[in-house]
Symmetry: C2
Amino acid sequence: MTSNLYAVILAGGSGTRLWPLSRELHPKQLMKIEGDYTLFQSAFIRLVNNVDDKNILSVTNVKLESQVKTQLAEMQEKFCRKSNYRVITEPEGKGTAPAIALAIKYIEKLQKDKKSNEDPIIVAVPSDNLISDNKLFGKAIAEGVKLAEQNYIVTFGVKPDRADTGLGYIKTKNNKKIKDVSESALKVETFVEKPDKETAQEFLQSDKFYWNSGMFVFKASVMMAELKKYEPDIVRIVKNAEISSQTPTIPYLDFEEMPEISIDYAVMENSKKLAMVPLECEWKDVGSWEAVYDISERDENGNYIMGNVVDLDSKDSMIYSTSKLITTIGLNNVVVVETEDAVLVCDRDRSQDVKKIVNHLKERHDATQLTHKTVYRPWGYYTVLNEGNGFLTKCIYVNPGAKLSVQLHHHRSEHWVVVEGKAQVLKGEEFYELNNGDSIDIAVEEKHSLQNPYDEPLKILEVQKGDILDENDIVRFEDMYGRV
Amino acid sequence: MTSNLYAVILAGGSGTRLWPLSRELHPKQLMKIEGDYTLFQSAFIRLVNNVDDKNILSVTNVKLESQVKTQLAEMQEKFCRKSNYRVITEPEGKGTAPAIALAIKYIEKLQKDKKSNEDPIIVAVPSDNLISDNKLFGKAIAEGVKLAEQNYIVTFGVKPDRADTGLGYIKTKNNKKIKDVSESALKVETFVEKPDKETAQEFLQSDKFYWNSGMFVFKASVMMAELKKYEPDIVRIVKNAEISSQTPTIPYLDFEEMPEISIDYAVMENSKKLAMVPLECEWKDVGSWEAVYDISERDENGNYIMGNVVDLDSKDSMIYSTSKLITTIGLNNVVVVETEDAVLVCDRDRSQDVKKIVNHLKERHDATQLTHKTVYRPWGYYTVLNEGNGFLTKCIYVNPGAKLSVQLHHHRSEHWVVVEGKAQVLKGEEFYELNNGDSIDIAVEEKHSLQNPYDEPLKILEVQKGDILDENDIVRFEDMYGRV
């Protein structure tokens, strides 16, 4: 592992096509789709064998920052010597091209701080793939690094085994190898956008086409030059960004002008510097419910059934429950996904259109597009249980060692009952210890803070009362997560 | 309206085929499917024009008693001089034949109390039909009464307009009229069970077949004689039942031996005394989701959509949400029904098989077969909000003037927060007034009662805590609903 090799996990996506499981504020890459780790964490684990953990960073949306940091911290505690989080946050998602440009700018700053003149080599990967073999992944990356050192922009292609219309393709130059640098790398003729069914079928017949895995390796200077050539606005805005290596943020104003574009459109479809390394292991994109169905283990009727489900005679369907009972009779080729606050029932062949539903919900400002009933916070999470005339009930879960900010509300009182663990409550100027079963009243305008300095998780039920019950009715005085 | 004309609403069904909307403890007949009244209440309103309201009674399952009484009280307050409830309860559902036999026995007792020797005429109707025209219904009933007086057992037939396989049929004797008694009544050749699709198609072509509406008119003595002839066990058990005209219940022991059989099987398929009056208005059986779809107003794509639904390109489907958001894409001929705790997704042609799902749930003792998350009680209802390790949260709604029993629990403490209205709480030997926002603790083994002596509804949130959280952990001391 050389000190000028870096990796960037692109983790700002909103995963709309996996709605309702995936939400803008808790998207798929932060979820456990398969195995013990989230997709994002799996991406980290793959990289940590190949790149110095101090050199692994992530670009994400500012709204996902605390979740990404929490997940990174878990991984770093497990697999690395403890190191600082390296999370670059964007005020809004603008696609992979701006994210990669920002990461390059930040890495150049890190190199400067290290007084290094070396041109960094960067591995950029999505955070929502499943890859079966970390060793073969590492081998491909090593091959990619060799090529990047020779100024190639390296892509990684996967041999298709079906006519997938949900993926982009890489067309090789008649499978010609780049023999002088690498054993396996192929020359690239062009990038191809998601094809229709017929074209995908042709691609499958031909041996020239590979799926675009969305992973890249490149020299910082080479990618910046290509970006400058094809999307100069991105480079101009990023150059002006004030990036500190301590808290990598950029001024909001500039970001509004930032073009919204993927690295594929911006660079890969234009660049003459491309090489492709075939990825020899199983690679799966978890891009849509059809893709999830595709990677799942099905029963003898072709069904993938998960959670509290009773089915009668369905075929080739996916039925996924996270909370309540789902019963299905005689379905054929249907996807059913249930979460606490929304249900999707969709013809399997239409799973790309989930995006349209989410856009519609966004337009009508439906909260089910943005968040789950369960909302994640730096200190834990809460779930709204019910709402009525002048009241709202939540179940609040506070991580061991976590504290909610010192705050007050202008329009509501709060009543708390401890149902699991113990709480320390600041009420006015006094601290109270609440044991399991104890309750306390917080008046309107009364300064308060809920804290869990203990080793066990804390769960309380909160009853809010007032004429205005709004998350924005909060005045913060102190906050351990910098939200004042 | 003659004083020896009675009506019986058969309201003990569990409505399994309309699950998950209909539950064993809150079945379809007690729900508003169309319009302002429940199906049961609509049946009452139809009858009250034709039968003296003092002579209208209902047979139901003991578990539905309080709901049926509440719904009857609402109707009687609205449409009648206030009179006593007349609800006969069965310890378990055994089909329409035992229910009708019990009603006859009870009506004979009423006649005896009135010192009347007249043989009562009884109109028996299901509680789950939709009938478009109360005047034409009344005309048919009057026709039926005339025939019953001549010792006919009168059925009411509806001219089919489709080959329905979910209904029974009446085959007339070549449409021959019973001219001496009635203008419209036809001679009956036989009753026919639910046919298969092909047979139903033949019935539709022929002009001899009518749908069996499940409504009957008969003389008490005539029906009892037919029951004695074809199902003597029913008559024997009913004869032994101790029926009081004040609280019409029967000893449980005998009822276990009661045959489980419908009046169609027991009498109609055998009797030689049948006549059929054609019912000239629109009549709809709300027997299955397919039937609900059938009676509903559909949009230009053939969809019936209700509640919080976002659909994209579905056809000929029914999408029915009662609580959370449902989104659908590209469905064809599918029924989706969502309630607080369960979702059904079913091919429309398979809607008769919902019964199989419910039976399966019953076998595995799944609560979603029996009740909703919201459970109805004589004093109001409650909804379970969430459950966790050693705690359970409910929202409890208490009707104005209602009281929960004086009780204690061996295994749980309770914490109450008033969120709407005001409460009077008995705790130990003391009464407390709780205003909106106030809270109180009830300890394990502490005698208590929650009461709402005020004019406004009361809503409280209850947090139960303890190792055993079970509805059966209740010791009752006093109860205004006779449940001690």
